[in-house]
Amino acid sequence: MNNRTFVMACLTPLLVFSLAFLALPLIRLFLASGEGDAGWAVYLDILRKPRYLNTLILTVLVSLATTFAALAVSTTAGMFLVRNRFRGRGSLLAVLTLPLAFPGVVIGFLIILLGGRQGLVNQITPGHVVFAYSALGLFLGYLYFSIPRVLLTVMAAAEKLDPALEEAARTMGATPYSVMKDVIIPGLMPSLIASGAIAFATAMGAFGTAFTLATNIDVIPMVIYTEFTLSANIAMASALSIVLGIITWILLLIARSLTGSTVAGGG
């Protein structure tokens, strides 16, 4: 066997596997979206029917809120962690990044323990405070698993930021606020956009968290699930999956082109 055939043989299992279980199913999914009563107009239905449109808007809003909150929290925390060395820094970082591989259901459950009917907040505060099943609970859940992704990306960029620039700005009399605004934020911009895209994409596609929390409100992944299992509206479920998949894929592509690497989705 010569060298070339050997290398080709090495790639064969991958090709066979991804063709059989990735390419073909995705093509099937795409075809299925056009097989319903509405035909290909099913994509237009997403925008025309209030039920789907409202869900889409809500999903986008919650995801946007998550993105900005995660960016704000992670940038400050990330800058602090990069600039300061202290005892327990490693373990703090490990704890902060743990939720990366937690399934969304577990995060959802933690939110229920915090803000559910028997939750911590409800027991401590007087009156009846239950927020786990509202958009706020969903937002907190999404935030919880967006933070590590953003944090890692921002920290990688912050490490490359030159502290000399900040010092120069300060010697010229810049206030801490204007240093932040004019030096640090522009320096981090590519990674902020990238990690924002990651956070947004994960929040859009998060199923596990929504599955445990979204009893009263609807987000896109939940609608896909109910369309498929309860109303057997396979065409609509497929169409929504494809729209969602394309949105998240493009966002992550943007993120990758800006930073060169991404911390993967999931949740």
Partner: protein
Amino acid sequence: MAGLTANYFKGISSGLTLKWVYQVWELYADSIFLSIWLALACLICTLLIGLPAAYGLARHPGWLSRLLEEFISLPLAVPGLALALALLQLYGSMKGFRASWAFILVGHVLYTLPFMVRSILAVLAAMDLKTLEEGAASLGASPWQRFRDIVVPNAMPGILAGALTVVTLSIGEFNLTWMLHTPYLKTLPVGLADSYASMRLEIASAYTLVFFVMIVPLLMAMQWASARAQRITQ
């Protein structure tokens, strides 16, 4: 904490107990073992597919390889739900395959494979594979010998980091599994969702606790291995 409290509605004062943990064990031991078994099977599959593939991609850098890498990374970007729907529609009618654990395995491999390939590829791309291989080839080593004696040992840090990632993600995977599982085949996270929906809060909490005890050491090991692999590539 709720998992160790005798009666959560009365609070900690009702005493601490391991009763709930035992109940979890009785109810869900199967799902825990299934998860471990799936994770190991998934690891073997990703190694068998991913290691040669990473080598192939490293040896033939070019737009075609980039495209292929991008394509297999799709499961990272596309939500698991969409992938599961796609798999279900194509293979759902094959009853034997649909009802077996292999169907869930396919989903897990699909999701974890890019991590394995990228992890190994990063390490391989950082070293001078071509020179090493040419040296070995001039000494008369066959392609297979070179793969076994040069590529695999050198890629070890990447393989280790990839392997730990695969096992951790496979144990924690929910989105795909929830759609692909059958009532007789519940993995750990699916069992968790099930316990949240239909069991006492104490059992759900105890089960979450069991899950944390399993996953946190794995995550720690994974972070350590990835950091190590990253140091080598720099």
